[in-house]
Symmetry: D3
Subunit: 202 residues, 6 copies
């Protein structure tokens, strides 16, 4: 079993992936900026570029939720992504956002813990409550009730924080489904990112 | 039990709803345009306007999927919304998109059929296959496999049609969760829309 | 898509439907009485008349639970039917009993709310508790415990009221399965009943 | 642990059980007839006699399905009861109808096999298909489709036989819920009935 | 339907069953000892002897959990086996350990109660809590939390007792899967054991 | 968030962990041998040493399944562990056996793929079928049927290979439950093992 060759042969997506030079200018610029910052182009950018309009809406939504300031740290936002993507068995999101979580939390262990079972993760009780609620949004939003808000407020979350938790879990309900539908493949680089001592947060 | 008063007292959303005049110009314009066309402002516009950036991304995504031409008719796109929103027990989306489906399909019965059990609905075998797949995206995207694509192609769906089905189901996975989270209330107008003979498609 | 023709062609049931004149006298009388009162014969009467003995037991049971006086109003009894039939994805019962619920509650919106997600419906806390228990009977009667009785008594339900709730949910567990098994088709008339201002309760 | 005393103290039902002499004449006669035939009064008769009208409908329905002739033997009808009651974790029905099944099938082992996992039971392929379908009616009637009818016809079941299978599974969906709701206790006699060589079928 | 012949023809296991004389000495001795004590060789010994090394580990594990002294009686240990094996639809374990439970508890009714629905069984509140936790280990160990330990301690269970409960449920998670995988057939003797008054505990 | 301190404070197990010098000689020797080979003592050895008899049976079973030769490679055996442990949300087993899988497969990516969703993993069709069956053993052994054996034989698996697949999935059904019950913590070393080019298989 020789992984590198195998993964070379495996496609990024079930759908055609456009060449960078064929993309609309705004999308190409965004992708090049990511490449310059990260050193590689995460495959989600290429897979979703198959549909430029949807690409723009997807990343505008993503950035509105993941890049903002507020009561949740950026690492906590990534925890929500990794926990709910684990529950949805989304390989791309667990691997890619697991890498970002490790870097943002400066913690090489946290992503694997949260992805498999947040109840066994080495996190604070406040983060535990945050992920309990994110999982409820991901798996049974039909049952959300006033008691859920009370439980979060008891841990110091504001109503805007609670919206953030819910909206991130809801957005990745979309994202996980698109990744599973397209069989999106995570870049090999993500698997190791944030696992070694010297790496820096982005 | 006197419904009108009760519903007057019931809020549109768990979160504050901004006044039209306090909204950014682009969002206010969009809302006014909808109001002019429909005769009322669907509550989803007001509830999501609580977060302007997310509002913009949400409706850009929505329009990219629901307003486009392609192998699926607009009525079929709404069928996907209604079926998957029923599976997610999303009251807002079943009622609001049920109305749009009735109007677009010029069929006063179709929405209630599809919302409760698409297997008992009076639809074509091709639409039945479309909804089977949409439900798989909504409920178990983890299991999507090549066989699912084959089954849809056998009914004449192109790969781009299949992306449309999946993307609509995935987008409403997000939308249903936000509506359930905010306890979004559908406008009373939606319940009756498209049920009487003389109404016209928009 | 032209619904009326399509539904004309769609059968009432997978099984043969007897002609009125071929039915035993007691069943024919019952059906004619319903027709006189409602203006049409609900298809459940025709579909179940395929088996006269079962027909008699079915409607005797139905009437014992739905037509009696007691701590539950007739509208509340129909709420239980609509909520549990929604959970069982029974198209016939949601549409037919949704109509009866709208009429009995004099509320054109209540049926669609309760059918999709009773937790988001515009009902009283007492009705919410009633439907929580009805759903437990419908979906996980194995787990019913003393605590469930305590919760209902705290809302003022007597033990006989609680039997009514359970028995209605249990009876429609039977009814929903027969309707799904026979692919029973609701009459077109039900879809609009009780949605317009001037209709009267029966 | 001394079982006889314990069970003496355990009630037959959560609800009051009427004295035989206080019951309407038709119900008392029916109960006395059962007692004469079986040597004891099965508790379901006493527990349901709390509501005479519902009692009459329940047993009329039961007899219409369980006592009739047709393509299914009486033992096969009881198999359906035992298998679906096991799936619904209904202690009363598994124990009481398990006894009847052992007697009718003249097989002391069959009930325990079918109650726990009909896929491991020592039954014919035709009976295996019958129970597969009964379980679908019990657990996911929403998904019943033409293919299910085809599979049963391939084993020689007529459409009337298929109705019998479905109706028995549907009726015990009601019965199991009432027994779990009332915490109905099976008579001690049922546990041993049909397990010893010399017993005769009723 | 003539059960004895049928079961004679039904195999003990999907896999070949070794002859006693072909087995390693330690395994043959163990089996002969069981036969001497019980009067027959339970089929699990023959079915697992197909793999001697796994046989030795399996029974060493079994004996370490089931034959030890401690806060749980031997009857209570068997209750855990029967309840969780019921939940896993393991026919072999429900029938074989049901027999052992009846004998150890000197109670001919307890096994059928616990196998179908421990919530309706005639057991103490302490035993009810024990089985609630065993079912959590069997079905959703992922969710075990501090609160589960608190609930058990409130009934007087020591931490070592709690380990016993969990370890028995976990061991039979393995055992149930092997029995279902091999289609292991329980000996006919088990069905009647412990049901008649004069039998003695082993 | 400073992970190393946090994890220092987090216990290996909910239960007391014996000191090496207090352990029986055979267990201490086994642990020292592992330490010499791996460079550290995997926490599962310390956590389970709380019960020496169960420890001995556990590892005897483990070795009988995981260290043997046969139609499955050692890497494939570990794949089964990682896939089913992911499905059971067992953090310890996914992290520890994920490391062993990476080393044995000489593939730094395979463990994360298989743990999240084996259907998206870069594996052969034969391995895909192997994991499909392992998941069935883990999650619904009740439904195993002849067809499952046929599907595996079509990929060239012998009946002894199939026993291996089932037995590994069944053994880790036990192991996952014990790890979740004790909140077993994986050693920090496992997270990085096998992710860097120069590591060698053990």
């Amino acid at each position: 079993m020789s992984a590198p060759q195998q993964t070379q042969r495996q496609a990024i997506s079930r759908y055609p992936v456009p060449a960078l030079e064929d993309l609309p200018e705004d999308i190409r610029s965004r992708i090049l900026a990511v490449q310059e910052k990260s050193g590689f182009v995460p495959n989600v950018f290429l897979a979703l570029a198959h549909r430029p309009e949807e690409f723009r809406a997807f990343f505008a939504y993503h950035d509105a939720l993941m890049e903002k300031e507020g009561g949740l740290t950026k690492a906590e936002r990534e925890m929500i992504v990794v926990a709910t993507s684990g529950a949805n068995n989304c390989h791309y999101c667990v691997v890619a956002h697991g890498a970002i979580l490790r870097i943002r939390a400066k913690n090489p262990l946290i992503a694997d813990q949260v992805a498999v079972n947040h109840r066994r993760a080495n996190i604070t009780p406040r983060q535990h409550a945050m992920l309990d609620f994110a999982m409820k949004v991901a798996l049974e939003a039909r049952n959300i009730a006033d008691e859920d808000f009370d439980a979060l407020r008891a841990h110091g979350f504001s109503d805007e924080d609670i919206w953030d938790i819910a909206a991130i879990a809801a957005f990745f309900a979309l994202s996980n489904r698109m990744a599973n539908f397209t069989s999106m493949r995570p870049n090999d680089e993500f698997y190791l990112l944030g696992r070694l001592p010297r790496e820096k947060a982005t």
